[in-house]
Symmetry: C2
Subunit: 200 residues, 2 copies
């Protein structure tokens, strides 16, 4: 079996959302699977000194425009959420919690959360908002709310985030294909080519 790709992203990142729509398909064309890793980008930002795009002078305006413009080009619905960046802690923990309980629900939940946040502009900072989305997948809201408070689940997210930073992840999306690092939605075509050619 060929090694899976590793896909790191923060739910607060719209470019991670764009990548989430295509990364599995790209990998599949080359006989690969993709491991999804929601992380808290803030941990990397502490090292790089970066600030969230929405809070950075000059970049903030461009960022909004670029996200909407890129979405139109991709024919992907986008509605800018009221709070940018949202706190993605509950959403990320929810994914690792469901992964431990029913792995088959991990990606469906992650995709639904991304869709709700960037496709429909829903703020998912509150655990209750995450539970409401999970409910659509028949995940019992009270189970989820209890699950994301589990210290073991909190630790999984911390570990995943720390492992990502150790590997050099500093932005979202960030993908490793055959150990090769690719940062940004705009590198998807390079990933596709890398898998096709085995590098260049």
């Amino acid at each position: 079996m060929l090694a899976p790709l590793d896909f790191y992203f923060d739910f607060a990142s719209p470019y991670g959302y764009f990548a989430s729509l295509d990364i599995d398909g790209i990998a599949a064309r080359h006989g690969r699977l993709v491991e999804w890793h929601p992380i808290m980008l803030g941990a990397a930002f502490k090292l790089t000194g970066a600030k969230p795009l929405a809070e950075t002078p000059l970049k903030s305006d461009y960022f909004r425009r670029d996200v909407e413009r890129s979405a139109r080009l991709l024919a992907t619905p986008v509605k800018l959420p009221p709070v940018m960046p949202m706190n993605s802690l509950a959403a990320s923990r929810a994914c690792y919690w469901i992964k431990g309980r029913d792995p088959s629900m991990f990606k469906p939940l992650a995709k639904m959360l991304y869709q709700a946040h960037w496709g429909a502009g829903r703020d998912l900072s509150a655990p209750e908002s995450v539970a409401e989305i999970a409910d659509l997948l028949t995940i019992e809201p009270s189970d989820l709310l209890a699950g994301i408070q589990d210290p073991a689940i909190k630790q999984v997210l911390r570990d995943e985030t720390e492992a990502a930073v150790q590997r050099g992840v500093f932005g979202s999306p960030f993908v490793f294909a055959e150990g090769e690092p690719f940062w940004g939605h705009d590198r998807l075509s390079q990933i596709d080519r890398w898998l096709q050619t085995g590098g260049w």
Copy 2:
């Protein structure tokens, strides 16, 4: 006559170098010219809090790898310079000086400087190094060294940089096409499409 594109870049930016190779051709396919504007990105970095990529933890390693990998994909020669980022003050001033004296030499000099810095890995922080490259274009080195000390030339670069920041420029390359802002070498295909379709 259709409005020209505005192309802002810092000579210390390799992605600006990549863009410089294609931007005129893309514009020409749509009956456009391109105004080149060398600027000092540091002025924008003061507002955004950004640091040069080569000096940013985590990003620094990725940056080197991405530049070399992208260059191979573009079949463009790249040799990482010994000093990154170099001080691009002399190179930028030299371009505005020659523009005032002989506009036809402006882009040839800019291209030669970019080629020397990113194609051949030459540090151009010292005015003498810039003059040496200009000499290849039969620009008298002593004229250039005097010219870039002219207060009026220094002011042109300050004005261009300030005007860029006023327009929202925070990175290199940064292009305006029909007033629409595009940041990054990876947005060239969007620029091409924007000019073709009149926007989307």
